[in-house]
Amino acid sequence: MAPITMTNITKVYGDGYPAVNDISLDIADGEFMILVGPSGCGKSTLLRMIVGLEDITSGDMMIDGVRVNDKAPRDRNLSMVFQNYALYPHLTVYENIAFPLRLKGTPDDEIKRRVEEAATTLELTEHLQRKPAQLSGGQRQRVAMGRAIVRQASAFLFDEPLSNLDAKLRGQMRTEILRLQRRMGTTTVYVTHDQTEAMTLGDRVAVMRKGVLQQVASPRELYEQPVNLFVAGFIGSPPMNFLPATIEGGQVKLPFLSYPLPSEVASRIGDNALLIAGLRPEHFADADLVDEHKRDRGITFDVHIDVTEWLGSQQYAYVPFDAPEEITQRLAELQQELDSEHMRTQMIVSLDPSSRITDGQSAKLWLDPSRVHLFDPRNGTNLTLNLDSDRASVSAGRPAGIAAGSAPPANDASSTGADGPRRST
């Protein structure tokens, strides 16, 4: 077990492409750190630099206070679970798990004890004599984890370990990994492109984009206080809605509603007349179902509902809107960066399943405007960051996260720290 400290880590490929650009990140001893971002953001490259499979172009990589830049992977005492598990096809499950110990020449009885212990933890005992080809996806995944835990490694590294499993199994294994990490208390770095995994697993989450660190924070803070448009769009499912917002006479005008511009924001806006507003689907409600005492805090407005999706536990409604070319363009770029398709400008609203709102009709919705984020369309900066100090979840306890390279100026407070105690998952 050991802390991992990265200082100004950069990786430049032969074609001059900086896959990882000047990243500094402190991972505390025993912490579960998630590296998340869309494909090509450099998260796996960063992980591979930690483990030593990728050379570091510049910067310092410290594990347990020792600089490891020039150390071979085998001298770093880390263990890693690969995306495709990388099980040795010619060895049995037992020998796969025992492999790192065999390499070190550990005595047989010691190996037996530790492999069996790991097998018990991971419920693999009855499969020990089988070959990887005979195992199911979930079992292979567990064998890979067995190989990682059998050795007292300084840290565990996971490279998208669940992406080859089906959705149901993924949920189970996610809990399994979390349980294991909690029990062993080993420093863990976990790479994923799945924001759900990032939110549920991490003590802290580092969001990356094109090789640059965007924000390092607790999942809750990422959700509530995203520093920019990119983080806001990446975290949350269904994703945050982005609408054009114009500032007119102290009012923020959105396609369906308008509300008074908070004074703190007004000073940050500068000469921007056109902004992007970010509204989370779950912050809306069917106006008919909002409690009386809550209703006054928000505003109600009428929209035309295009399509609804009823999922039993939830209901989504889709509301098309028009946006100026400038904003549409910007949003299309953002969608592309987030690995998704920009289809049309529409808003997703999450409603209570008991809501009677139906397709093709107009409906009355409710929204608390204090939860609306406003972004500068030019650089994506969140202009409403930390307006409301009681909503910001900044607290001491964890070692300081490091601010990102190109992060906007307003994020100083946000990137430092995370919640101390874990949220229940």
Binding site: V12, Y13, G14, D15, G16, Y17, A19, P38, S39, G40, C41, G42, K43, S44, T45, E54, D55, I56, T57, S58, D70, E160, S163, A167, R170, V191, H193, D194, Q195, T196, G211, S237, P238, P239, L338, D339, S340
Partner: protein, 304 residues
């Protein structure tokens, strides 16, 4: 909460593979530079290994007169005399003609026959196809020389001795195993649904075959043809046993018989020149079809 999933991610930047092959020169570590040195050294070693004997026979072919026995690698005077002798010698020119004719005919017929069989094996389900593959494998391992005695006897009886067909028939038979193996491996990789898709799109069965399948199968057939040609061009045991005159004697056999020929003052130089001449087509084919040859050599054996 639903799980949003982005595109299946291979988390690497465009243009840079997971295991980047060429990191920038800045920050190239010491052991990396050593690795490069080993690679380059290895490459040079391989090229030296393959080139030395070839360079030697080339050098030998330019030696004339006393140079032949100068016991040096290179000639003192570069001479084309040996080449002039070779092209004036009917033993060699007719052998060249025979080799080209026999090898080409054996290749074309052999590949055609093998294509039919390989198609059946890869595409159709019929009892005995495993047996065919096993028989082919057995023949591929067969000691060719064990057959020349009986073939010698038989060919004399049916007047095929010292004729082109007398060589072509055994060559076809011995290229068939390799051809069937390589081709059926290639054919197994072809997405045959293409044929149905084309038919659904309105093509006739014949159009579907020629438009959808032939373009996909052609590279495999071509690769097989190259390998078959190499075999026929190279074959010696049958050629030396089943021929006796310039009528059908091929280049490898003629080369071996250059030895005692009295019409040459310097059989060594002439032999070397002849060897170089018959190597040129091989070198050209290797240069042009390098990739195909490698894939053909390994597909049948390893991929399976």
């Amino acid at each position: 909460m639903t799980t949003t999933v982005a595109a299946p991610s291979k988390d690497t930047p465009a243009g840079a593979g997971t295991a980047p092959k060429a990191p920038m020169s800045t920050g190239r570590s010491r052991h990396q530079r050593r690795r490069y040195a080993i690679h380059i050294g290895g490459a040079i070693l391989i090229i030296l290994y393959t080139m030395l004997p070839i360079a030697w026979i080339l050098s030998l072919s330019f030696k004339a007169g006393g140079d032949i026995s100068n016991k040096k690698f290179l000639p003192k005077h570069w001479s084309l005399a040996n080449y002039r002798v070779v092209f004036k010698t009917s033993l060699f020119t007719s052998a060249l003609r025979n080799s080209i004719g026999v090898a080409l005919l054996a290749t074309v017929i052999g590949v055609a026959v093998a294509t039919l069989a390989a198609y059946a094996i890869a595409r159709l389900d019929f009892p005995g196809k495993r047996l065919i593959l096993s028989v082919a494998l057995a023949i591929a391992m067969f000691p060719v020389v064990a057959l020349v005695g009986p073939l010698f006897d038989m060919w004399r009886a049916v007047h095929l001795f010292d004729t082109w067909p007398g060589l072509i028939i055994p060559y076809i038979s011995f290229t068939l195993p390799l051809a069937i193996w390589v081709l059926s491996a290639f054919f197994r990789e072809i997405p045959w649904e293409m044929e149905q898709a084309a038919q659904v799109d309105g093509a006739t069965p014949w159009q579907a075959f020629t438009k959808a399948i032939v373009p996909l199968a052609a590279p495999g057939v071509f690769t097989t043809a190259i390998l078959a040609f190499f075999f026929a061009w190279n074959e010696f045991a049958i050629a030396v046993s089943l021929t006796s005159t310039n009528r059908a004697r091929t280049v490898p056999a003629a080369l071996a018989f250059f030895n005692g020929a009295s019409q040459f003052q310097q059989p060594v130089g002439a032999q070397a020149a002849a060897a170089v001449v018959v190597t040129i087509p091989i070198v050209l084919m290797v240069l042009v079809f390098q990739k195909r040859i490698v894939s053909g050599l390994t597909s049948g054996a390893v991929k399976g």
